[in-house]
């Protein structure tokens, strides 16, 4: 089970990333879970400087970026 976290206090880009991540996971099938982290204290543990942050299995992948569903699928499979 890969745990995908979307870190973001709720701006437009954060919602966008959460949405695409959910779509990507839905297309990939079993084995993934998307969690939205909105709590600042939690978020700061990953040292992000811009939101949204993308975290896979506790590893920060990117900050301040949005992706297409296809791009996310590739990232999740890796």
């Amino acid at each position: 089970m890969k745990v995908i976290k979307v870190l973001g206090p709720g701006c437009k880009k954060c919602k966008q990333l959460e949405e695409t991540a959910k779509q990507a996971v839905a297309q990939l099938g079993e084995g993934y879970e998307v969690i939205k982290v909105e709590d600042m204290e939690q978020m700061m543990k990953y040292n992000i400087m811009s939101s949204p942050g993308l975290v896979i299995d506790e590893k920060l992948i990117s900050a301040g970026k949005t992706y297409s569903v296809e791009e996310l699928k590739e990232i999740f499979i890796k």
Binding site: K45, N47, S50, L60, A63, G64, K65
Partner: protein, 322 residues
């Protein structure tokens, strides 16, 4: 080129007569909109590349490398101006800077300039008010951010950062050495930068249409000099009232600047209008509520109070020199 396209579209295609009120208004609308969209595209792409090569993480590393003896306020203020601003990033940024050992005053310098001078506002300013006014706006915004941050830094306001932030600053992160992949080739940067730029433009476009539309209506229907009966340069209250009205407002720079330009053409003093736009673009109530998560009320009051006061002073100065 844009002018001849606008002329062609309005006067040739639709057959409106040059010089007619509707024809001129539509011509103005088409010309202004295309010009500003072009400027927006150029600015967002340039800023996109700057940001792609110098993300905030690099800025932070750069600032913590050595002692800058106060120059860091100016540097960070310039960085704040050239990095794209997103209100939801201001808190992670605030935390990230403090955690990286950047002084509170320097962090505040960034926080002042980042929303105040941004690529969208600058593009619209160039399109509507021209280069000179844009340089005055951006230049004074950057200097103000540096100076106010420096003064606030001297006031030892660190205790008024929220307790949980102070606690978090001393704690280790889950993964301290989070390095986001570097070494990206230029050609691989183009696509995301373009995507981002088009996204920004798409987002502000409706406000731009509304702003230019209202501006056009003011141009067409309000007599020249109309506002001079209430607001003149000699009225000492105009600037503070405009600024204090502007501070809580959360309006899109895209929409507000074309309207302001129209108002200026009808007799509102330029300096007052510039100060108002600084207040609207730079500070807002939603930003205050966001910052409340990391700052105690006292720090917010200092932050907003000093920026508001500086904008008022700048407004008087603008009215003197412009």
């Amino acid at each position: 080129m844009i002018k001849s396209f606008a002329d062609w579209l309005i006067f040739e295609v639709t057959g409106l007569v040059p010089g007619s009120r509707l024809g001129e208004a539509l011509n103005f609308f088409v010309y202004d909109t295309i010009k500003i969209i072009f400027l927006l595209f150029v600015m967002t792409v340039i800023m996109g590349f700057v940001n792609s090569y110098f993300p905030v993480e690099k800025v932070k590393a750069f600032l913590t490398k050595r002692n800058w003896y106060g120059l860091d306020h100016l540097l960070v203020s310039i960085f704040g101006a050239i990095t794209p601003f997103c209100s939801c990033s201001s808190i992670p940024l605030f935390m990230g800077f403090l955690k990286g050992g950047i002084p509170l005053g320097v962090t505040l310098s960034f926080l002042i300039t980042s929303p105040l001078v941004n690529e969208v506002a600058v593009a619209i300013f160039i399109g509507i008010f021209g280069w000179k006014i844009t340089l005055i706006y951006a230049g004074s915004g950057i200097l103000m951010g540096a100076l106010v941050g420096w003064i606030l830094g001297k006031l030892k306001l660190e205790p008024y950062v929220e307790d949980w932030v102070q606690k978090a600053m001393s704690q280790q992160s889950v993964n301290q050495e989070n390095k986001i992949a570097e070494k990206v080739l230029f050609k691989d940067r183009i696509r995301p930068v373009m995507k981002e730029a088009l996204g920004i433009i798409k987002g502000v476009l409706p406000y731009l249409f509304i702003g230019i539309g209202i501006g056009g209506a003011i141009h067409g229907f309000i007599p020249t000099g109309y506002f001079e009966q209430w607001i003149t340069k000699d009225n000492p209250f105009a600037v503070p009232v405009a600024v204090i009205l502007g501070v809580p407002m959360y309006a899109n720079a895209t929409g507000i600047i074309p309207i302001l330009q129209a108002l200026v053409s009808k007799g509102i003093p330029l300096g007052t209008a510039l100060a108002f736009s600084m207040a609207v673009v730079g500070l807002s109530l939603p930003e205050a509520t966001l910052l409340r998560k990391v700052m105690k009320p006292r720090l917010i009051a200092w932050f907003f109070g000093s920026v508001t006061l500086s904008i008022i002073l700048l407004g008087y100065l603008f009215n003197l020199i412009l």
